[in-house]
């Protein structure tokens, strides 16, 4: 009886192994089932989801103007201090003081792409970009200034 059980076990084991091997063998001979993305070669055709969050960017138009008024809503909304806004006071032609941003500091090394800053922005000045190739050799390069030098607030954005 023992021998019979033993042989049954061996045969059953071999059959189950062969079943598994047949499955893997199927994919070996069916190259159409390959799902591997050829990443560095497919850079030109790589299409990411349009909502993918890669980094925070500030859009500038052709006149080097942006929509950030320096209200610091994003800075307050950010859970871990990724954004730091340094404000200054501009003089308008009428002689009034007007608040504006001096520097929009963005710490990419801290950012978790949670989208809370973009949700909080009342003027739509910042948005999420899809760029993900941020690898650097030096950590200091990850601290970025989002407003371009010499840029100013677009007319009519309050």
């Amino acid at each position: 009886m023992f021998l019979k059980e033993y042989i049954k076990d061996v045969v059953g084991g071999v059959t189950s192994l062969l079943k598994g091997m047949r499955k893997t063998g199927y994919y070996f001979f069916h190259p159409k089932e390959i799902i591997t993305e050829q990443y560095p070669d497919n850079r030109a055709t790589l299409k990411l989801a349009e909502r993918f969050r890669g980094e925070v960017v500030m859009a500038h138009d052709a006149n080097n103007e942006h929509a950030c008024t320096g209200c610091t809503a994003c800075e307050l909304a950010c859970p871990n201090g990724t954004i730091k806004i340094i404000t200054k006071f501009d003089m308008t032609p009428e002689g009034k003081k007007k608040k504006a941003i001096d520097t929009f500091i963005y710490h990419l090394e801290l950012c978790t792409m949670c989208n809370l800053c973009v949700e909080a922005c009342p003027t739509g000045a910042i948005s999420m970009a899809q760029n993900f190739e941020h690898s650097v050799y030096d950590r200091n390069k990850l601290t970025k200034k989002l407003n371009k030098p010499g840029s100013k607030v677009r007319e009519g954005v309050e």
């Binding site: 050829q38 560095p40 890669g54 801290l110 190739e133 950590r139 390069k141």
Partner: protein, 181 residues
């Protein structure tokens, strides 16, 4: 000979300088060959502490497959690995363990800091008492990838950057000085 002269000028250079004789054409081109070989056979250590570890597993899986670049198999023992991918937060209790793992890896060894936590503490930078604010406080890091967690493609990009770095044969300090200039 020029190299030794420049080194001797630096009084703070630790260790003894032994001048090499001869031109070094054969040796330097042999160095290039070694660097090329090294850059294409990096075996990472399976060091995953949190979320980024899952993206590292995704990179190893069929869709992204980092074996295409010679990151052939992830090794569980540091003695068989060449590269640590610090995937996840390092806390104060884990710090000594990470240092010990790094020490156990045979030279030459490379480190990639993956994700915001490993670069700077990321989401746990403020308001916590237990998180190391960046793995480079413990071990030197070669390549940083921001993201929380970075996409598998971003990890592949970092791996290609590391290969480029190894092929160039420059040290971390040389690269940093070049980028400053």
């Amino acid at each position: 000979m020029e190299l030794t002269d420049t080194l001797q000028e630096r009084a703070d250079f630790p260790g003894e300088i032994v001048p090499t004789a001869g031109g070094g054409i054969i040796i330097s081109s042999f160095d290039g060959l070694i660097n090329w070989a090294r850059s294409n056979s990096l075996w990472p250590l399976t060091f995953a502490t949190s979320c980024c570890g899952i993206e590292m597993m995704s990179t190893a899986s069929a869709k992204y497959d980092f074996s295409r670049f010679g990151f052939e198999v992830a090794r569980a023992s540091p003695r068989q690995a060449d590269l640590i991918i610090i995937a996840g937060t390092i806390v104060n209790k884990m710090g000594p363990v990470l240092k010990r793992l790094y020490d156990q890896i045979p030279d030459p060894k490379y480190v990639i800091a993956m994700g915001a936590c490993a670069i700077s503490g990321g989401p746990f930078f403020y308001n916590t008492y237990s998180v190391v604010k960046g793995a480079d406080h413990i071990i030197p890091v070669d390549v940083y990838i921001p993201g929380c967690p970075p996409r598998p493609e971003a990890l592949l990009h970092a791996m290609i950057s590391l290969q480029e770095k190894i092929k160039s044969g420059l040290t971390r300090e040389q690269i940093r000085e070049q980028s400053k200039a």
